[in-house]
């Protein structure tokens, strides 16, 4: 079977978005130990703030992206201090349901401020050049480049910086890292700063690729969660591998199944993954 290169390219783009978003989520999930349903809405909020800066205030897209990422970076910390921190001692299920409350709040706040209909970023170029039969759009190229830079950056951070190493240790064993003297609250701060920022970036990329809508984050959340779980919760490279796997599978599947069902690919990948490799793609799930 010959793979249509256009589908592969699309798959890589979608895969990048999922991979980046899943990376942020796996860091948060792995260290804070609960499913944050509001993560999708963090993504949407980042996309909206960037849009507001770009289309409403009129600043260039580059500035808008930075604004969106920073906003969510700080915003996640604020949300933690306001809400999640007060539930630190409670069960993961309670935190999950609290995050449902937060999700409700954010999503409807976005609707209240910017309305329910979709928006697009204000971009300078409209070109869609072709190369070896594959059509690229500027947005897609931007997404790919940004993703690769971010993934590289996070990789370096996790391997080389003190914070990153502490994060990996805490993800593996929270008890142990507390004993070893890792300042947990400070670590949590970093996790939200980085994870929240990544969420914002993921949302912006999603908005670039598709459209900016209030429930955009939630719609993508299933695929992102599938990537995290497939890759093994808490395993950053697993999340990235999972993201690209699901993105590619999703887009390439259009060749054989009706395109409306391509989102079902995420679900199938999740179930297959859980049944065959419960410790994740690389066997390094930390839960």
């Amino acid at each position: 079977m010959v793979l249509d290169p256009q589908l592969v390219w699309n798959g890589l783009v979608v895969g990048s978005i999922i991979a980046v978003s899943a990376l942020g989520l796996t860091l948060i999930f792995g260290i804070l130990n609960f499913i944050n349903i509001a993560y999708g809405d963090y993504m949407a909020a980042g996309a909206y703030v960037a849009w507001a800066v770009n289309a409403q205030v009129g600043l260039p897209i580059g500035v808008a992206i930075v604004a969106g990422v920073l906003f969510m970076s700080v915003g996640s910390v604020v949300l933690d201090k306001l809400v999640f921190q007060h539930f630190r001692t409670r069960s993961p299920i309670t935190l999950l349901i609290v995050s449902i409350g937060v999700a409700f709040f954010i999503r409807n706040l976005l609707r209240a401020i910017w309305g329910p209909s979709g928006h697009f970023y204000d971009l300078p170029l409209e070109a869609s050049p072709s190369f070896v039969g594959v059509r690229f759009s500027i947005e897609q190229v931007a997404i790919m480049v940004t993703s690769l830079l971010l993934l590289l950056g996070v990789y370096v951070m996790l391997r080389r910086t003190r914070v990153g190493i502490a994060m990996r240790a805490a993800s593996d064993d929270r008890m142990l890292s507390r004993i070893r003297g890792v300042d947990t609250e400070k670590l949590v701060l970093y996790v939200w700063l980085i994870g929240g920022g990544i969420a914002g970036l993921g949302g912006i990329m999603l908005g670039l690729d598709a459209q900016i809508r209030p429930n955009m984050g939630f719609t993508a959340l299933i695929a992102i969660f599938a990537a995290v779980i497939l890759g093994g919760i808490g395993d950053p490279k697993g999340a990235v591998a999972g993201g690209y796997t699901i993105g590619l599978a999703q887009e390439v599947s259009v060749a054989v199944i009706p395109s409306e069902y391509k989102f079902g690919v995420g679900l199938v990948a999740l179930i297959v993954g859980l049944l065959t490799r419960p410790d994740g793609l690389f066997g390094e799930a930390t839960r």
């Binding site: 309670t94 349901i97 409350g101 409700f104 999503r107 209240a112 679900l267």
Partner: protein
């Protein structure tokens, strides 16, 4: 619309949501299962009954091919049964998984079902509205139709409350509660926990399907947009706020949620932020949920003692 009429409509909605919450309470309150597929059971019940009781639409724009003209009772019964079956099927794939995984798989399964409803227009009218669903005893009741339906729905809620409370207090319920507390113990005591979980899932899903059928025949037109995951989350909020583990709590929580959402119908005239009111209502729901979890985790009618037993103080 007169205040009384408004109250009747809101009352019917509260009744339907109460049935949904009763089903969810069996899953979560009794058995400790993180079911995030509830909206799908609701949809299956609604669409099954609608398809079975409505002949295919005619006309050049008609897309639905499948339709029947069966009595409403048959439709609702079939919807209830099929929702239960779907519940068991979803459970088979997921109940052996740990909590968070169970949540994600059920959520994804529900989305897949909604996707199917959205796309298979030959069966469900797809993205468009499935219209002209018959209302039971339409025009045959001497009182206002909304009043009749209110009594009907709440009568069913009453029956379900008694039934589910009895199940919860029975030896069957005892096994479910044990599963909720600890997966290994009932297994070690001879219970086939897998089968019990399937049964719990199926029964809770069935009553959600019943709610769907009742809903469809009341609003007489349905579309896939009515069955988004946000419904599932709202029911979760209802069960938590009302008090997980208590069926009275489930009904109360559902009624509170419905009231919060519908309250703006009762506000007359122009108010500031009028357009955003529906969103503000949901923001309030989110806030209330967080506050309840913080200050009163056992919910309004839940058992605080039970929650705190065994925790060191």
């Amino acid at each position: 619309m007169a205040l009384v009429d408004l109250l009747l409509v809101v009352g019917v909605i509260a009744g339907v949501y109460s049935l949904l919450a009763i089903g969810m309470n069996m899953h979560w309150g009794d058995t400790g299962l993180l079911n995030f597929a509830h909206a799908a059971f609701f949809a299956v019940g609604a669409y099954t009954s609608a398809i079975l009781t409505t002949p295919p639409a005619t006309g050049s724009l008609a897309t639905r091919v499948v339709g029947f003209d069966l009595p409403i009772v048959v439709g609702i019964a079939a919807g209830t049964a099929l929702a239960g079956v779907v519940g068991v099927l979803i459970a088979i794939t997921s109940v052996r998984l740990e909590g968070d995984y169970l949540a994600m798989v059920t959520l994804s399964s529900a989305e897949l079902i909604r996707l199917m409803i959205h796309n298979e227009a030959w069966l469900t009218t797809g993205a468009q509205t499935l219209k002209n669903i018959p209302r039971p005893l339409d025009g045959a009741v001497p009182v206002s139709y909304d009043l009749f339906y209110l009594v009907l729905v709440w009568g069913i809620v009453g029956v379900c409350y008694l039934l589910f409370t009895r199940l919860s207090r029975s030896p069957f319920g005892r096994v479910l509660h044990a599963i909720r507390e600890n997966d290994d113990v009932p297994l070690a005591l001879g219970k086939n926990t897998y089968v019990f979980k399937l049964k719990s899932f199926g029964i809770g899903a069935a009553v959600a399907g019943l709610a769907g059928g009742l809903w469809a025949h009341y609003v007489y037109a349905i579309s896939s947009i009515m069955f988004l995951p946000s419904i599932t989350f709202l029911i979760w909020a209802a069960v938590i706020i009302g008090g997980a583990g208590s069926y009275g709590g489930a009904i109360l929580g559902a009624s509170v949620i419905v009231f919060l959402r519908q309250i703006t119908r009762f506000i007359p005239g122009d108010v500031p932020f009028g357009d955003q009111l529906s969103y503000i209502r949901l923001m309030v729901v989110g806030l209330v949920l967080i506050l309840v979890l913080y200050y009163r985790p056992e919910g309004l009618l839940g058992d605080a003692e039970r929650l705190q037993a065994g925790t060191s103080e």
